[in-house]
Structures are given as structure tokens and as C-alpha cells.
Symmetry: C2
Subunit: 347 residues, 2 copies
DNA sequence: ATAATGGATGACAGCGCTTGCATAGATGCT
DNA sequence: AGCATCTATGCAAGCGCTGTCATCCATTAT
């Protein structure tokens, strides 16, 4: 039996513009203007209003504000996963840039499921967001229609390879080209018997694009991709380790293995280390993403760095700078941030 | 000069309840009820309304809905960082659980800055969220006041050690106890000359609590913490590696080193590996978090696993189940999810 | 038959803010 | 002094929903 009176729960914030206005002795509109810094305001009034708001601990109701002004300072961000540091970094780029502009991110995680993406985007749209940032460029037709009919600013990020036209704007890199670049690098180093270890590629479309680019480049140079090992489930160090073990059990003669990403490649690295395989002499290892962990291994991982944080920032920026549809049509729709091949010590 | 007519930008979603109502031949209230599944509705009406909404591609305006009904289906989530997989996992737990319940997360990243936390929470409150989930239990006095006066459901997560009373509910573990547990484990293994390598501990309060718990347990057993090396900046594999190198340069006689977390510890691991130090014989290494990467190293890292995903889920759940303030006062305010010491092969 | 019951729906007043328009002093200009 | 200009502020009409209350048929009970 605790007696609560001083700390009694207040009737959930009965604090409105009107209260502040009353206390400052001005009208609601004036308070509204002061708080949003618009229109000419006498200095004395401004001070009085700010003081009243401060003393009352007034927090404006943005729901009402957004409804009244159409435009919600909310930006929907849709990523496929948060198991992996990759999207967390993208998210960081997005939120930081948005915060500078006073906007906030509402997030949705699809689990690489396009049907779920559709539902999530729809739910996000219900907040009438200023814009939408979505990882990936592959969507269900229904989602495309929804977005097209809706007119919301949308930025597709991470990826720029695709036959489908951009929904609106894109910020990313060509995963096909990244795969091809790695193939070219490995070929230049003299490797000829290639293997691949990946995770569930039917869901991770960008990983597939890298593999396709990789294989295509090999083919172009008349070299075959000898073997592929796909591990079920999401990418992880453990999966990469197991995958390489399986792959090598069936194909002892490989001289280089490309992994779907760095997590997987680090797993491969550990497998080699644990089994006395020297890299790159006994086996070359390459990944994708350029994660820190790969670069801190005793032997730096050969990989391709994707500018994730920057992609997030740029994506947010696209939302911020997007004005009318007219201007949108004028600007280039796609920003290719490129990538950087890191020639490490494992390949 | 592009002529756009077919694809002309629509007047941003002029689609309201009224349009759907008109098309279905019923009133707005009926549409509202059908869409929210409340009240008795004739089956024929339901079908007609759903059909009209579907055909029109109607997406309800939740801003308006929330404003009218007070209760916004938005939950603010505040984390200190997204550099690290740890909070990404927490976030995943939160968003997944919220999504099941039809709620959405608006996120804020503080960068371990309490002043910024205050601003972010204030901005989040402006959306009149159903609840707030905040990592950490240390806040500015002003933030405490704001939240207390506001009556919003809030869950502090990750940490449960602290003199300050809980804002509302807590879900986490005792970092002090985790540090102490590791000290006990290492002492039991016979180590006696301890070192510590940490990152910017003035900001990462939980890392400090672990260190304090660790040092206290050593002291209780009459053992000293010989040396501490603090690396500036956030935790990272690189920082851990550098930190250990520095520490050992000054103190060659240590037999065990405790790291502020697993990222740092993995860096230490690589340092040992690169310098021919055998673990645990030449040097024992221990971390905190129980990250996958640590468990996939050739020698499994000795660490303490924190149930991050579960913390996120539970935190979301607290928001979902929280009813009135009365009931809130009745339930236990703190959930201790505990932790698990993983006796790996490095200590 | 007629009243009572309940299922199905519509009307309408807000929710808390923004914003165009009106108003009222205070200045400036001729 | 008289009128145009500003600057500073208030008024009031919504923004697109929700929720209460009233209404209107069908049924069923009497």
C-alpha cells in the first residue's frame, strides 16, 4: 500500500498550446509561431512565450501539427535485417542525417521477405511520412503501384542494378560490378579454380547479384566457377566456416573461394586457420563489405568495401532535398556511390 | 522539358475515409469501424467497404487516427549507438515484438550523450508515443522530471544497477554482477595478475559498472587490478588490439586481461595470435556480450552472454502489457534477465 | 397487433495544431 | 495631417480521423 499523491500520475499531458498561450498572455497562433520560428514576432513576446513553455514543460503534439500542416517530420526506413552490422550502419547514417534536420526515423525490418516489405511500407505510409528509405530495389508489383500512386518521396538504397525503373531515387552501388571486380582481381592474382560459399541467396538478392557478376566475369575470361556451397539461413561466421568445410570436402583442388559477404568469409578464414591452410597460398579467401573485423584479422581480408554509412547519409539527404515532383524529375535519379576493392592478405 | 501527364504527380494522396465511404455507399463512421474491426457490421457492408478500400488503394491516415483517439501506435526507442551489433540486436527484438502488435518504432541514437538523450526523448514525446524504451538507467535530472510529469510508459533496458529509482519499468541485467562473476571465474582458474583494457568508459556507463564490479570482486578477494588501459573513442576490434599492445608493453607480467566488451577482447585475441602469445597459458583473455564472432574464433572466447534480443523483446512487451498507472504500480518494476558466463578457451 | 429489444448505421463534435485573412497600432512619406 | 506600409497579433476554419449518441429497421415477445 503505497500512498502516492505528489507523484500521482497526471492526466496524460493535458498540456496544450492553449495552456502556454494563456500563461504567456497571447493567442495560440502566436505561441505556435514562436515555437516554430516563423513570421515576425516582437522580442518581448518571444521571450514570454518561450518562458511559459519552458516553465510548463510543454512538448508540442506533433501528431496534431503534422495533421494540420500535412507533412510529418517522420521518415520511414525499411531494412531487411538487423542481425548484421551492415544495416545497422546504414541506419546510423540515416538517423544521424535526419536528426540534424529535425526529422525522425520510423523503422521496419522485413527479414528479406518482400511480402512483409509490402505490409511494412503500407503501415509506414499511414504516418504520411516525409519520405521513405528502402533497402533494395526489388519489390512486389503491388508495392510499386502503391508507391507510384502515392507520391511520397522514396529512396531505394544499397543497390542500383536492375531492369525495373527506379521508384524515385536511388543511392547505392552495383553489386554485379562488385562481384565482377573481385573476379577480375582474383584472376589477376593467378587463381583459376574457384569456389563460392554463400548463404540463403534466394532472399538476399544483392548477394546473388554479386555472385552473378562474379560468375559472369569468370565466364567472360573463360574460367569456370567450379563449385558452390549454399548454407541455409542467414549469413554468419559459423555458416561461413561450415560452408567452407563442406565445400572443401567435396573439392580439394580449389585455389580461391569467394564468399557472399565478410561474415561468411571470416568464418572461412577461421576454418583455414583451424585446419592449417595457409592463406592465400593454400587457399585464397575473399568477401564483401569491408567490415572492420576482416581488416583486423592477423591477415587482412581481401574484400570490397561498401560505403554503408555514407549510403545511409545520402539516402536521408535525398529525402531532405527533395522538393516538388518537378524538380525531382530534373535531378539525376540515381547516385552510384561506388565501392573499393581492398586487396588484403588473404587473396 | 518533359511532358508528364499520365505519370503526373497526384495531389499527395487525396484519399480519405470519405472517398472510400462514397464508393462503398456508406458513411465514414462505418468505414472506420470496418477497417478497425469494431462494432457490429453487416457482412455485406464489410465486404463492400473492404473492396472499395482495396480498389482505391486506401491507406488510413494514422496521424489523424491517433490524434482523434489519443494513442499513437508509435513507440520511441532510444539507444546509445548503432556501431555495434549489440544495440542492433536489441532493436531487432523490440521491432519484431512491436510489429506483431501492430506498433512501430521511432528510433533515436544518443551517441552515449545524456544531453542529447534528453533532446531526443523530448522530440520522441512529441509523437505522443504509446511508450518509450530507453537503453540505460542513467539520465539527466531534467529528463527524469519530464518523463515523470508526462505519464508515458517507459522501459529502461539493459541495466538494472543504480541508486536512482526506476522511471517506470526496467528490463536488463546487473553489469556490476557480470563483472564480478568474471572476476570470480578468473580467480577460480588461478589467475592473479590482472589487467583491464577498455574504451571510453566515461560515456559507456555500463562498461564502467562491469569494471567496477570486476575490480570490487578482486579487491574482496585481496587481489589487485594491476593495470588499466583506456583507449579513446568507441569500442572496436582495432582499439582492443592496440589497447592490449600498450598495456602489455608496460606490464609484461600480467596473466589475465579483462576487456570492456567482446569487440575489444577479439582485438586482444588477435594481438595475442599475431604475437605468438598462447591463450590462456601465456595470457588469459575475457570479454563481455557473448557475440557470435567470439564463439567462432579458433579458441572460443571466455565471456559473459547478455540476452540482448530477449531484452529487446521483453522491453517491447512491457509497453504492450502496461495498462493503467494503477496496475503499473502493482507489478514488479524490474525484470532481471540475468546473464550467462561462457567459459571459453581463452581463460 | 404492438411494444420491446437489439443489430446496423449515420451525424457530428471534437483531437491539438497550422495558416490564410483580418485587424490594429506604429511608422514613414508627401 | 493623411494615407500607404509595415510589423505584430488574433480569429477561425480546417487537417482526417474517432467515438458518442441518436436513429432506424428487423425481430421477437406479449
Amino acid at each position: 500500500m503505497t500512498i502516492r499523491h505528489e507523484t500521482a500520475p497526471m492526466p496524460a499531458s493535458p498540456l496544450r498550446l492553449a495552456e502556454v498561450a494563456a500563461r504567456a498572455g497571447v493567442s495560440e497562433s502566436t505561441v505556435s509561431r514562436v515555437l516554430r520560428n516563423i513570421g515576425p514576432i516582437a522580442e518581448a513576446t518571444r521571450v514570454a512565450v518561450l518562458k511559459a513553455a519552458e516553465e510548463l514543460g510543454y512538448v508540442p503534439n506533433r501528431l496534431a501539427g503534422a495533421l494540420a500542416s500535412t507533412g510529418s517530420a517522420l521518415v520511414g526506413v525499411v531494412v531487411p535485417s538487423l542481425d548484421n552490422i551492415v544495416f545497422a550502419e546504414v541506419l546510423r547514417g540515416v538517423t544521424e542525417r535526419l536528426e540534424e534536420a529535425g526529422l525522425q526515423a520510423v523503422i521496419g525490418v522485413t527479414g528479406y521477405d518482400l511480402a512483409r516489405e509490402e505490409r511494412i511500407v503500407s503501415a509506414l505510409l499511414a504516418w504520411r511520412p516525409r519520405g521513405l528509405v528502402i533497402a533494395g530495389i526489388d519489390h512486389t508489383p503491388r508495392l510499386r503501384d502503391l508507391l507510384a500512386a502515392n507520391g511520397t518521396a522514396v529512396v531505394e538504397m544499397m543497390d542500383i542494378d536492375g531492369a525495373e525503373p527506379a521508384l524515385d531515387r536511388r543511392v547505392g552501388l552495383s553489386h554485379g560490378a562488385a562481384g565482377a571486380a573481385m573476379a577480375a582481381h582474383l584472376l589477376a592474382r593467378g587463381y583459376r579454380r574457384f569456389g563460392y560459399v554463400g548463404h540463403d541467396i534466394s532472399r538476399d538478392i544483392r548477394a546473388r547479384k554479386r555472385l552473378d557478376g562474379f560468375a559472369a566475369e569468370l565466364a567472360r575470361r573463360g574460367v569456370a566457377l567450379v563449385a558452390e556451397e549454399m548454407v541455409a539461413g542467414p549469413s554468419s561466421v559459423a555458416a561461413g566456416r561450415r560452408g567452407l568445410a563442406t565445400l572443401l570436402a567435396a573439392h580439394r583442388d580449389l585455389d580461391a573461394v569467394y564468399f557472399s559477404n565478410d561474415d561468411m568469409a571470416v568464418g572461412g578464414y577461421f576454418h583455414c586457420e583451424a585446419n592449417g591452410l595457409r592463406m592465400p597460398d593454400d587457399l585464397a579467401i575473399a568477401g564483401f563489405n569491408g567490415l572492420d573485423i576482416g581488416q583486423e584479422l592477423p591477415r587482412r581480408l581481401t574484400t570490397v568495401r561498401s560505403p554503408r554509412y555514407r549510403i545511409g547519409q545520402l539516402a536521408a539527404e535525398q529525402i531532405l532535398t527533395r522538393q516538388g515532383a518537378a524538380e525531382a524529375a530534373a535531378k539525376p535519379a540515381t547516385i552510384d556511390v561506388g565501392f573499393e576493392l581492398i586487396a588484403g592478405e588473404t587473396a
